[in-house]
């Protein structure tokens, strides 16, 4: 890899990252549904991470298997989020407001 590819224009990548950061900050002020903002922010973050990994970490110029190694934690992390869904959606957060009243009511 050392000589196998021409150096990408790193300052251009830097500019992209800078612009994307500014866009990220701008996105949270857009008056749309929270879900849309979340999707936009996560996608922007993933694009930035991809830029860093592909160009700064030279992943674009390496073998494909190395990219698979790098992507494994992303896949496992997504799996973890899916696994955790029942934990946080099942029990409390819809009813927590009424539960918060309970200690004040002298139940304990």
């Amino acid at each position: 890899m050392a000589e196998g590819h021409a150096s990408p224009n790193y300052w251009l990548i830097w500019l992209y990252l800078f612009i994307l950061t500014v866009v990220e900050i701008a996105v949270i002020f857009i008056p749309v549904a929270k879900l849309l903002i979340v999707i936009a922010l996560v996608s922007l973050a993933l694009v930035k991470a991809t830029l860093v990994a592909a160009y700064f970490m030279h992943l674009r110029f390496e073998g494909r298997t190395l990219a698979l190694i790098a992507l494994t934690p992303l896949f496992l992390g997504a799996l973890l989020i899916v696994i955790l869904i029942p934990d946080h959606s099942a029990v409390p957060h819809k009813t927590v407001d009424s539960m918060k009243v309970a200690p004040a009511a002298g139940h304990r």
């Binding site: 029942p86 099942a90 409390p92 927590v96 539960m99 918060k100």
Partner: protein
């Protein structure tokens, strides 16, 4: 409702006020951060000490430092 949950020490009551999730998360996360470092450190230190032992062997008249680990098949020896 509350007493029942309290007795069972509810596993998924993350947002419930009487569960001290912050305490559990903090110490558990800290523990899980320390353990891999400790494991890697112990294994690394053990390999380094093995290497040191090999180097001391040279001082005591061995010809060369043996390799730390073998890249060849060992079975059958």
């Amino acid at each position: 409702m509350k007493a029942w949950r309290e007795v069972l020490a509810c596993a998924t009551c993350v947002g419930v006020p009487w569960v001290k999730a912050d305490l559990g998360f903090f110490w558990s996360a800290l523990f899980l951060m320390v353990v891999p470092v400790a494991v890697a450190g112990l294994i690394g230190g053990w390999l380094y000490s093995a290497y040191r032992r090999g180097r001391d062997g040279v001082a005591h008249g061995r010809a060369t430092i043996p390799p730390l680990t073998s890249t060849r098949k060992e079975s059958g020896q």
